[in-house]
């Protein structure tokens, strides 16, 4: 009791100071600097897409996105390196759940495709689409679906690295063609971005679902990954 009281006595003022300081800092921020925003708008025509967030994400600051895809892959590598064992509780095939997933999965895939497509000119894009895809995969695995053993080794891995892999290939390609990392030719910028987004969606969906499961599929030959492509 004493200990917590003392912690509160010391900690709360500190945190309040922090909050007050940060609040003061935020409130006294200068007027919003506009020129970067203007730059984005000015260069939209050359970006290949019409939605500014997608343009920033996959063209102006695409390098960040490449690294971020690597972070995702790294998280999966790390989780797999822990060598988790499956909790072994088999989901009993529940009739309602089963029917629901059968109905929902095609719908979710449709939503994924829509989000991917809409990203070019409205809110949406690879990450949103990928998360929905992952959600459907998680749902499937909860309902007891499993990926066939043939697909757990190389095919699954190829899907998982498709996003970063294509990103790297395009980086190398742009470097060779244009002399600058990730500088798309203006005419084909839209095409490049669509390719990137499509593969990224696949990989993100697969990676998130695999992270949810936590166990390396194909570790033993029985009970792994509810993956769905």
């Amino acid at each position: 009791m004493n200990r917590n009281r003392l912690l509160l006595v010391v900690l709360l003022p500190l945190l309040l100071t922090l909050a007050a300081g940060l609040g003061y800092a935020v409130l006294s921020l200068p007027e919003q600097p506009q020129y970067l925003q203007k730059l984005v708008m000015d260069n939209m025509a050359e970006s290949g897409v019409s939605h500014p967030v997608t343009a920033v994400l996959l063209n102006f600051r695409a390098y960040d996105t490449l690294l971020e895809m690597m972070v995702l892959l790294l998280a999966l590598l790390a989780v797999w390196s822990f060598d988790m064992t499956d909790p072994k509780h088999k989901t009993a095939p529940n009739q309602v759940l089963d029917t629901l997933t059968r109905l929902l999965t095609p719908l979710l895939i449709l939503v994924t495709a829509y989000l991917l497509w809409v990203g070019a000119h409205a809110p949406g894009g690879a990450f949103q689409a990928g998360s929905v895809l992952a959600a459907s995969a998680v749902l499937l695995s909860l309902a007891g679906w499993r990926l066939s053993n043939k697909l757990t080794a190389l095919p699954l891995r190829i899907v998982l690295v498709a996003g970063p892999g294509v990103f790297i290939i395009i980086s190398a390609l742009t470097m060779l063609l244009e002399g600058q990392l990730l500088k798309y030719p203006v005419a084909q910028a839209g095409l490049y971005i669509v390719i990137l987004e499509t593969f990224a969606t696949l990989s993100i969906g697969a990676t998130l679902a695999a992270l949810f499961l936590g166990v390396r599929p194909g570790k033993t030959d029985k009970d792994k990954g509810g993956k769905h492509k």
Binding site: N2, R5, L6, V10, L14, L18
Partner: protein, 435 residues
Amino acid sequence: MNIEFYTTTLWIAVIWPLLLSIPAVHKRLPWPRYLAIIPAVLLTVSPIDASINIPWLLYGTGFAIDGNVRWILGAFVVIWLTTVSITLPSNEKSPFSSTLYLLTLTGSLGALLTTDLVGFFSSTTLMGYSFYGLLNQNADKTQQRAARLYLYFLITADLALFEALLLVAFTTQYFQFEVARQAMSEISSSSVYLYMVLLGFMLKAGIWPFYIWLTATFNSGTRVIALLLIASPITISLLGLLRWLPLRDDIYITGLVMQLLGASAILHSVLKIFTRLIFKQALFKHGMVYFTTAWLLIAFTGLFSLVLGTALLNPALWQQYVYLVYPFIAITSITLTILILVTGKNHRKPESTDDVFVLINKLFHKLKKWHQTTQQLASQLQLTVKSLWNNSGSFVSRQYQQVLNDKNNKSFLTSWKLNITLFLILGLALTWLAI
């Protein structure tokens, strides 16, 4: 032969033994210890003075050889060749010894040939620590103790010399011997530098009041160790004194003290030798002369400090006759070498080592006892503090109790809560200070 050849030989003489000291290299070569000395021998027999600057090495060091250095180098080569010839059979005994041996050689040659303070300091350190390693090779208990004694002296000496080096760096940008000495003798606060240099090299050379490691090492080691002792630590340190010491007019008290030390050293060693002559009848049996050689060595370094004291008293006279010191060192060390070679052949280790060890052991036990007492006191104090804290019963008391009860060697600083609070405080402090 042309001058380029000699300048090249100059730096090869230092680099070559360093290269050979790599185990993979010297294991594949025949007679590596002879090979390592060859460039040095070439330098000794050639009559040409040469010098080379290596600006990218350390602080822009350089190597040079002239008539004075050649004297020392000559003595050096003789002693090293002797040690090689008497150690060859045991070459394969330990994989490490060749490396350490060659590193000691590199350090000594580097110190001998270099032209600046940093180079000299670096080389002597290399030499010192490799020599410590050599002392530890296949060492028994007494030898290990002697080696440890040497190490303590070495570290203290290096610290003193490092201080001196810092002072030079503080005073001037240049580290060449002449320039640095000139600069150091001109500034007013050079006496600290003088004392540091004197202390450092007196420790390293085992000059009189600091001779205990010398006798210990000498008596517990083999002939090779004794010979190397003369060649490396002692000769090089005497050379260091010649090169580092600033000469000024107003330091005559130091000069007097040095003379006094030198005189006492000679007196002490003469007394020691005489008591042995008188009380130990078996002088020529069991290599008793060998043990007295150590005292001859001390007498020799004492003589040197006598001379040095004179130099401090009268710099002008010293400048006139300084060239004589080099042959003096060279000839004396060769004489001592021959003496050791002849008398040490069938010497046995004495049953009881030097009385120094008794003294040190006593000291050690006293320290131990003192330590125990303080520990008891501390634990009592801890108990008192603990009971006090227990009574007060607050959070702080428990925090401190944790520290005091620290059984798992875990510091209270590993506590997550405390640390993140510290993190918060640090962030706030940075912001506040930036304002």
